[in-house]
Symmetry: C2
DNA sequence: GGCACATGGATGATCCGTCACCCATGCCTA
DNA sequence: TAGGCATGGGTGACGGATCATCCATGTGCC
């Protein structure tokens, strides 16, 4: 029971706390803006973006789940809610009796087309406008490196 | 309706997406570790940290809410749950009939003392170990600047 | 004192995410 | 072809966060 805890140094604390707070507050604001301006949540938005990335606006549950790094359970629940609001529909998969597709509807397309410009604008005014290109590069590299480590470890 | 949306450049996308993902996955892992190893959530942990920062382990709901940047409603619900698990107790405030204190219990102290070393260790191995001091400085400055802007605007 | 308004907190509804588990289909091998 | 495991997805219960609303107490002002 060697009590050798390496507590955070002041600089480490400053960076870590700042990062955590930034994440919380930025995420909160962006989500609330999206919701109130366009009636879609951040999660809805992410799904719709991925669906519009494919030519026919259709994707397998699992592919979507992998792309967004969501659990299949979350995907299932979330798609059910989105389907309830008419943003997407569920479709059976002919080739694989187990599988299913998520397909964006016209209403879904309308929703994301309305939401996207406002969302991008919000990301700019809340975040990007206050960060230099050099800082942005550091942030990107750092994020990718840490994410890669997490992938390796599992 | 001038359609002049300034979409994100590739570098902006890279940084923004990386940042968002990092936040999601890091937060997820840390939370799950805390929960499974020590039976407290990230939110519990934050509350307990702030309580142990005061000499007698007691703080007003509202002060706690301001320190953590939580809504009073969230604080109320969360403290109720923590009280149910015996980590804190609620106490009436003699000077102000409306107010109340949150007080950490022995079980609460035990919980955070058990959780803190593991949590710090996890923050190190998952994040700090893969970030240079220079990057950390950039991250701290950037976070504080953006947070300050958000404060100004309201 | 009596009114309006502010403050501190509680509550119930609703949405979201996770966990544990279930079920059906597909696949592979004995 | 039967048994067993893997895969794709669904479900219910629960903890968690937010919103709108409510209630009691405090405060300022006429």
């Amino acid at each position: 029971m060697a009590e050798t805890v390496r507590w955070l140094t002041p600089e480490e604390q400053r960076a870590w706390r700042g990062f955590v707070r930034l994440q919380e507050r930025l995420g909160g604001r962006l989500g609330r803006r999206l919701q109130s301006e366009s009636k879609v949540s951040s999660a809805d938005f992410a799904v719709l973006v991925h669906l519009t990335d494919t030519p026919d606006g259709r994707q397998r549950y699992q592919d979507l789940a992998r792309a967004l790094e969501w659990e299949k359970s979350r995907m299932s629940h979330h798609i059910a809610r989105m389907a309830g609001r008419g943003l997407v529909v569920r479709e059976e998969c002919p080739e694989d009796g187990r599988g299913a597709f998520v397909v964006i509807t016209d209403a879904g397309r309308a929703a994301i087309e309305a939401a996207a410009p406002r969302h991008v604008e919000a990301v700019r005014t809340l975040f990007l406008d206050h960060v230099t290109p050099a800082e942005l590069r550091v942030l990107a590299e750092l994020s990718e490196r840490v994410l890669a480590r997490m992938d390796e470890e599992g």
